[in-house]
């Protein structure tokens, strides 16, 4: 109760009785201020503009009775307790007061009880008020949560620990085309496309995953599901937040189709163009028989060799996309030594190895193609320089990856080119004869192997390429193999 003195409105026409009541209250230890009235009109306006904490009313006044006052409070929903103090009224009337909402009835002979009764009434009012406030707060909160859940762009599903649907929001109902009551009679597993045969009930299920749901019409819908657990009254419940991924999936599928068409095109072009080029080559041979001209012959031969090189690279571009990878243990050093002996036979070369990892578990042909392209690239650029070419190879294991580094002391790659060198048909030095496909292709193959190929920045001299491959020893490799061995 507030520390302020309470305010009491007396409805009383006898000054004597009023003083008796006030005296009884003070002797009961109650501090209060009070005012009084005996006219109904005044009672009405006081109640409205100057409401007291409690009303103590005589039963019968010249203008009205305590019952009229009670009715008025009720009608205007005014929440002030009213206590009746009166001479003999009979049991019937007393019961009627209480029935109409009076907090108590005190006969004039028992005024000693008045202060206790007032205190009790005020405590009750206070409790009631607090309860109502809490209730209102709760209702506001419920209303807000309801609005939140309805307005969510994600679907929301609440399951019990046996997978029975307890609650769904409007977004989820709309996504699958079911009504709320239809969903509440279903188990979660019934909504899954490709439902697993066995669902462990006790396992923890928190996390994110992608899945396909079945709509009421039988369509499959790709969704992203984020699952978490809550405990309500010691019962486990599962919250699933569902976002629609079907549009994204569709785009992806379209892209994939386009991509595969492109690869088909490249594949066909790279094969079909060989025919006319080999015919040209034949014609060249046959011109040689009748009108030998070394200069023209060499120039034409060079062009034809270029054309074949482009076709070979294009064939490789599609080959490693479609080819089944055959994964095996590859020892890095012998592959590199073999390639270097082949490529750098004619120029002065110094080769250094610093291998912390000796073998990688990957597709041999793919790995060899990447190395070949990188070394071939080094060779082409080294030819523009007049010094001993030095190449160093190193390998190490970092963060579930094996990194193989190839560094040279060649002319290096100027900053402005470094962003583009992995692009298709990009040639950093146009005066060099190259297809502009080697590095593009190598990066593509590296990605197919679950790794990547990149250029290390900040080198003063030469270039430094780093090939990363998934490390089969690491645990994540086994959980999420980057390899797609299909």
């Amino acid at each position: 109760m507030s520390s302020d003195a309470i305010v009491i409105l007396f409805i009383e026409d006898s000054k004597e009785d009023l003083e008796l009541c006030q005296h009884a209250l003070r002797s009961g230890g109650l501090e209060f201020t009070s005012y009084h009235t005996s006219s109904f009109e005044e009672f009405r306006s006081q109640i409205r503009y100057n409401p007291p904490d409690i009303i103590i009313s005589d039963y019968r006044l010249p203008e009205f009775t305590a019952l009229d006052a009670l009715m008025h409070l009720k009608e205007y929903k005014i929440d002030v307790p009213l206590l009746v103090v009166s001479g003999f009224v009979g049991e019937e009337n007393a019961v009627e007061f209480l029935r109409q909402g009076a907090v108590d009835y005190i006969p004039k002979e028992a005024l000693k009880k008045l202060s206790t009764s007032v205190k009790r009434a005020l405590t009750e009012v206070q409790l009631k008020r607090e309860k109502r406030l809490a209730q209102e707060k709760l209702e506001i909160e419920i209303e807000r949560n309801k609005k939140l859940v309805t307005a969510m762009s994600e679907g929301l599903v609440l399951l019990d620990d046996r997978g029975q649907i307890i609650f769904t929001n409007a977004t989820f109902q709309k996504l699958l085309g079911y009504t709320e009551s239809e969903l509440q009679s279903k188990r979660w597993i019934e909504l899954l496309h490709n439902a697993p045969d066995f669902v462990p009930l006790i396992s923890r299920v928190e996390g994110r995953r992608e899945a396909q749901l079945l709509s009421k019409l039988g369509e499959t819908i790709w969704v992203d599901i984020s699952t978490s657990e809550i405990r309500i009254n010691d019962e486990r419940q599962i919250i699933q937040v569902i976002s629609d991924k079907s549009a994204e999936r569709e785009n992806e599928a379209q892209l994939k189709e386009l991509n595969s068409e492109m690869e088909q095109l490249i594949y066909r072009a790279s094969h079909d163009l060989r025919g006319p080029i080999s015919s040209l080559e034949g014609l060249l041979e046959s011109i040689k028989l009748s009108h030998p001209d070394i200069e023209i012959e060499e120039a034409a031969r060079e062009m034809i060799a270029d054309a074949y090189q482009i076709l070979d690279s294009l064939t490789l571009v599609t080959k490693f996309q479609q080819k089944k990878l055959s994964v095996e243990t590859n020892f890095i050093k012998p592959i590199l030594v073999g390639l270097c002996e082949n490529l750098f036979a004619k120029i002065n070369t110094r080769i250094k190895f610093n291998l912390n990892v000796n073998d990688v578990y990957t597709d041999h042909e793919a790995l060899r193609t990447i190395f070949y392209n990188l070394l071939d690239n080094i060779l082409r650029h080294a030819r523009t320089q007049d010094k001993t070419l030095s190449i160093s190879f190193s390998s190490q294991r970092i963060n579930n990856q094996i990194l193989i580094t190839i560094e040279d002391n060649g002319p290096g790659i100027p900053q402005e080119h470094s962003k583009n060198i992995f692009k298709m048909f990009y040639r950093a030095n146009p005066s060099l004869r190259s297809t502009g496909l080697g590095l593009y292709l190598s990066k593509k193959i590296a990605k197919r192997l679950g790794g990547d190929l990149y250029l290390s920045q900040g080198e003063v001299v030469g270039s430094k390429f780093i090939l990363s491959l998934p490390d089969p020893i690491s645990e994540t490799y086994h959980e999420h193999p980057a390899f797609n061995i299909d």
């Binding site: 025919g275 080999s278 034949g282």
Partner: protein, 142 residues
């Protein structure tokens, strides 16, 4: 060298022209038959002339693999299946401009196919591989 007949089957006129010149330049002599249409070649093989086993044994066939209507392999299959008296033993060499290993493997599945050439045919290729091959074949026969 006892070559009676050289039969060139290629849908590409230029390739036939070049191959013919190369074979002649390499010193091969005999009757030259050129087909641009594999179906015409099929008709000829089925004729009495094409069915004679004696001349067949001394005839070389240069057969292109990649032809639109009927590929070299399809022509071989068709001849083995539909030849009225059974295809006599020609010396067959496949030609291709593809670098597809699968073609090479497939060619080796045919008993009568002696070898496999990447186009274009050059005098060097003929001198290096075809002539020694023919030499060894006919030496054994004689």
């Amino acid at each position: 060298m006892n070559i009676q007949r050289l039969i060139l089957i290629d849908d590409n006129r230029v390739d036939n022209f070049v191959n013919l010149r190369m074979l002649k330049a390499a010193g091969l002599v005999g009757e030259f038959l050129v087909f641009e249409n594999p179906r015409e070649a099929f008709e000829w093989f089925c004729s009495p002339q094409g069915s004679d086993p004696n001349t067949a044994a001394e005839s070389i066939v240069l057969l292109d693999i990649n032809m639109p209507d009927l590929s070299g392999f399809q022509l071989m299959d068709k001849l083995q299946r539909e030849h009225p008296t059974g295809l006599p033993d020609y010396l067959i060499l496949m030609l291709t401009s593809s670098n597809d290993l699968a073609d090479q493997v497939r060619a080796s599945n045919y008993e009568r196919v002696l070898g496999y050439f990447h186009k274009p045919l050059t005098v060097q290729k003929i001198e290096k591989s075809l002539i020694p091959l023919l030499g060894s074949l006919f030496d054994k026969a004689s």
